[in-house]
């Protein structure tokens, strides 16, 4: 990707405009990030559509992938503990599949990792918290504020505890987005640095004997990144469920 400096580990995260798009004066330029988001969405949609179209009793490969994804998200929602959490199943499922495929497709060389952009993960986290707030107010009205008032606490302690609860609530989108973003960013930088070590050692005369060491490290790290990619998508989904559970039952 980077002709001018192939060793720069940060260059892989550069946003490059593909073609300019300014409808109604809004800068909606189509970038490589947008391209990969479209690729992820199309991949997810086609896996689910093609996987569910045969409707075989004994599933084929694609169908069992689709069914496993469904069962997994269903178990995740069940684990977060709300009985009527299945109402949010389409949202959680879409979110999980999007994050998972962004993470996994980003691991393929020469692709772009959409989830390594804080703008993307931040938008996803704000979407989750926005749904929590809107749903909470729609179904509980002002009772939703009980989320910030711990039960069974003397009134004298309220001025101390309510700000803590509010900050704790506001820190959720931050930690949700930063966790995913930081994991993907750090992992991809580490991989790139290891790859850079291999290249520079190979060009360093006698020290080329050492080149297999960072190469082995890069192989191990790739497997580790695969684990992190799946795990972070899972964590994102289960925390979304936990937060949505708060919207359904605000009073602890």
């Amino acid at each position: 990707m980077a002709e001018e400096n192939p060793m720069d580990p940060i260059h892989q995260f550069a946003i490059e405009p593909l073609f300019s798009l300014h409808p109604f004066g809004i800068d909606a330029t189509f970038t490589n990030a947008s391209l990969f988001m479209v690729i992820v969405a199309l991949t997810a949609a086609s896996v689910m559509l093609l996987g569910t179209s045969p409707r075989a009793l004994v599933p084929g490969r694609l169908q069992s992938v689709a069914e496993m994804a469904y069962e997994f998200v269903k178990a995740t929602i069940g684990m977060a503990g709300s009985h009527d959490g299945m109402r949010f199943f389409p949202f959680v499922f879409t979110l999980f599949l999007f994050v998972l495929l962004c993470n996994l497709i980003g691991l393929i060389p020469y692709t772009f990792t959409v989830t390594s952009q804080i703008a993307v993960t931040g938008a996803l986290a704000l979407l989750v918290i926005g749904i929590v707030v809107v749903y909470g107010f729609m179904h509980h009205g002002t009772k939703f504020f009980r989320l910030f008032v711990p039960s069974g606490v003397p009134v004298a302690l309220m001025p101390l505890l309510v700000p803590i609860e509010v900050i704790s609530f506001l820190s959720r989108p931050v930690s949700l987005s930063v966790r995913l973003f930081a994991n993907m960013l750090a992992g991809h930088i580490t991989l790139k640095v290891m790859g850079g070590f291999v290249v520079s050692l190979l060009g360093a005369g006698f020290f080329a004997v050492l080149a297999p060491l960072p190469f082995a490290m890069a192989v191990i790290l790739t497997a580790f990144e695969l684990l992190v990619a799946v795990l972070q998508a899972y964590v994102f989904a289960i925390l979304t469920c936990v937060y949505l559970n708060d919207a359904v039952h605000p009073g602890h």
């Binding site: 700000p163 900050i167 820190s171 795990l231």
Partner: protein
């Protein structure tokens, strides 16, 4: 019209294929029943093993224990840091608007630290199998 014609062409071939398949199934009936028995035995064994692992493991859907611990560690870290940062940001914002630097920053930094500990405490007391959030 053209499409219907093609369908008509397809059908006899398909029927022939089906009947051939049926014939081969009928000829080795004994082999088939033996294979079915083997498959159902394997299925039973797998099901009981799954049941056992479900009884032992607290998180049926999660990845291995190494991944679990890692993600938990990162969750604790990020929840704590996020709370402190959010508290500091709120304090800084209030100070900027009201010109009371640095008092609100200090107070809300402390609130943020407390909220961070509260987040970590909540993760620590959370039941592994779920339950109330």
């Amino acid at each position: 019209m053209a499409r219907r014609g093609r369908q008509g062409e397809d059908r006899p071939g398909q029927r022939e294929w089906q009947s051939r398949e049926l014939g081969s199934l009928e000829t080795d009936d004994g082999a088939l029943s033996a294979r079915l028995k083997k498959l159902s035995d394997a299925l039973d064994a797998k099901r009981s093993a799954e049941e056992a692992s479900r009884r032992e493991g607290p998180l049926p859907g999660a990845a291995g224990s190494m991944g679990n611990v890692l993600s938990l560690a990162f969750r604790v870290l990020s929840e704590f840091v996020a709370a402190v940062v959010v508290g500091a940001a709120i304090g800084w914002g209030i100070d900027r608007l009201s010109g009371t630097t640095p008092w609100f920053l200090i107070v809300f930094l402390l609130f943020g630290a407390a909220a961070g500990f509260w987040n970590v405490y909540r993760i620590a007391t959370e039941k592994p199998g779920g339950g109330e959030g």
